[in-house]
């Protein structure tokens, strides 16, 4: 753990804020990322179906392996194709 001194006016919280989130999903595309653990696909398939029932566009992605972070190319592809991401199923 390193401590850095705050160079700012200190008018905002120290935890890095989550990236700006949308007000609603309608009109957006939701990315569903399967992190490649067994049985996760059944759970994610159901989320996918429910989203599509509501008329929300989805795209599916698969991490090549559960043991490493998603490769850069995949992360960049996801970043350009969707606006929000659900990742699962970690157990």
């Amino acid at each position: 753990m390193t401590a850095l001194l705050d160079p700012t006016s200190e008018r905002s919280p120290t935890i890095r804020p989550r990236l700006g989130r949308p007000d609603r999903l309608e009109g957006l595309t939701v990315g569903i990322v399967d992190i490649s653990k067994p049985r996760g696909d059944v759970f994610l398939d159901r989320l996918d179906a429910r989203l599509q029932e509501r008329g929300i566009a989805t795209r599916r992605y698969m991490k090549p392996t559960m043991t490493r972070p998603a490769p850069l190319a995949l992360r960049q592809q996801i970043g350009t194709e969707v606006q929000v991401v659900i990742q699962g199923l970690a157990d």
Binding site: R39, D45, I86, A90
Partner: protein, 59 residues
Amino acid sequence: MVVATTEFIEAAEAQAKALGTDPACVFIPHPVQDRTDDELRAMADTHFDAIIAMLLKGN
């Protein structure tokens, strides 16, 4: 946001502390490996609203 089982709660907290981030998480009951397909789909239904809420502003 991330969907994980309750086994992950401590790990998620530790990682959040280490990385200084506060990722949105929904925890579902552990284990999942021995659930039937119907049980998994039911869990997805139960937690659907919570998962959507985590994607949106204000959560």
